[in-house]
């Protein structure tokens, strides 16, 4: 199983696989964004209490889900870096951080824009909002640590420890609305219960969430692939791939 993992994560194999996923997830993201935007702006009803402002949810919730999903991806990749020293995993973890920070910021900003008209405040220090803000700082800390250490392998390991320890914040974000009294409402969509929303709203939310996920896959692989190419530029497979096409001319 581990030999298989190493082969799968070999830089050459990673490059090929990344290319495959970038192409197909890229098309998938385009289709999903088109249908998701159509549903969320035109084909879903206003809310009985919140009116049209419910449409902010179709950006806010996918961004917040992505912010947590990307963190989990980053922590798992860091585990592979720390334990098995897989180079491709280090590239993925490093590529995750700025994207995760971006989606966390987007979730916080759209949350503010939703909170002002509905709750009556841009920001409150409740457990959900505060733990999501901590997530942003974890991402920024990860990026700072990566750039503070000169040696790239050492940097990936040090930041990896931070990423793995910080995973504790994820269940705190998720369950904060149940464990404490918060202004933020509970989860609408859970695995155990029927979603507490209208079908068209649910479709809008799911389409946009999938679009955000596909976007992340494409964006993270593009970044990671570039980094691998730069680091591996003296290895045989890069020479074959780029030098080979050159000889034919």
């Amino acid at each position: 199983m581990l030999a298989w993992l190493h082969r799968l994560a070999s830089p050459k194999r990673f490059h090929g696989l990344a290319g495959f996923f970038i192409t197909w997830c890229g098309w998938g993201a385009l289709v999903l964004f088109a249908s998701g935007l159509y549903y969320s702006l035109f084909n879903s009803p206003p809310d009985y209490q919140q009116g049209e402002s419910i449409r902010i949810m179709y950006i806010h919730v996918p961004a917040a889900w992505n912010s947590m999903f990307i963190y989990i991806t980053m922590a798992i990749a860091s585990l592979f870096v720390l334990v098995w020293r897989i180079k491709a995993a280090a590239a993925v973890a490093r590529a995750c951080a700025p994207l995760g920070a971006m989606f966390t910021f987007l979730a916080l900003a759209t949350g503010s824009l939703w909170g002002k008209p509905m709750w009556g405040a841009w920001w409150v220090w409740d457990a959900r909002l505060t733990s999501e803000l901590i997530l942003l700082f974890l991402y920024l800390g990860f990026m700072a640590l990566q750039s503070a250490i000169e040696d790239k392998d050492a940097a990936a390991r040090a930041a990896g420890v931070l990423a793995i320890v910080g995973i504790i914040n994820i269940p705190i974000i998720y369950y904060s609305v149940e464990w404490w009294n918060t202004l933020h409402q509970g989860a609408t969509i859970t695995l155990s219960e029927k979603p507490k929303m209208n079908t068209d709203m649910f479709i809008s939310l799911i389409l946009m969430s999938l679009a955000f996920k596909f976007y992340f896959v494409v964006a993270v692989l593009r970044k990671a692939r570039n980094e691998m190419l730069e680091r591996e530029q003296n290895s045989q497979w890069v020479k074959e791939m780029l030098g080979g096409s050159d000889e034919r001319k």
Binding site: L2, P45, P46, D47, Y48, Q49, Q50, I54, M57, L79, L82, V83, W84, P117, M118, W119, G120, A121, V124, W125, D126, A127, V161, I164, V165, I167, I168, I172, V177, W179, W180, N181, T182, L183, Q185, G186, A187, T188, K196, M197, N198, M201
Partner: protein, 159 residues
């Protein structure tokens, strides 16, 4: 997995478990401080600070909202199902403020045991639906079972 890798894995697991325990303990110790607001029951039991600002959360009692004609002063009752507390506020209320809605008010206790609020925030629940569905539910008269925020399944929780 060679022994070196196994040791790394064990070390990481131990670190995560230790930090997890530390955070859990901190969370339990700070539980009261992390809660954003007090319930009317807690206020009735005298758990709130006497001379400091605090938040109270509850449902606006139906028919309790009294607006002062001519200015923005408003008085209403908050309930959590067990106890009630009177809140005075002057200012613009959020869009979602209405009777039966969950709200959170920040303010201080006055001499009569009422809360003088400086800020009122509306809390909505996790149920979303189109207005027509709500109308239909109202007509059917089963609003309580279906959708009214906070009044239905779990009134005491969170409010």
């Amino acid at each position: 997995m060679n022994p070196k890798q196994r040791n790394r894995l064990i070390l990481i697991t131990v670190i995560v478990v230790c930090v997890g325990i530390a955070v859990t303990l901190a969370g339990i110790a700070l539980k009261e401080n992390i809660n954003l607001f007090y319930n009317p029951t807690q206020i009735a039991a005298g758990e709130v600070p006497k001379d400091a600002s605090f938040r109270v959360g509850g449902l606006v009692v139906e028919g309790s909202v009294r607006r002062n004609p001519g200015d923005l002063k408003v008085t209403f009752e908050l309930t959590d199902g067990a106890e009630q507390v009177t809140v005075h506020y002057e200012g613009i209320l959020p869009d979602l403020f209405r009777e039966g809605q969950g709200i959170i008010a920040q303010g201080r206790m006055n001499a009569e045991g009422h809360v003088n609020a400086s800020e009122v925030l509306a809390k909505h629940d996790e149920t979303y639906m189109p207005p027509e569905v709500q109308d239909a539910l109202d007509k059917a008269g089963n609003i309580e079972d279906a959708a009214a925020p906070g009044t239905s399944s779990k009134p005491a929780k969170g409010y």
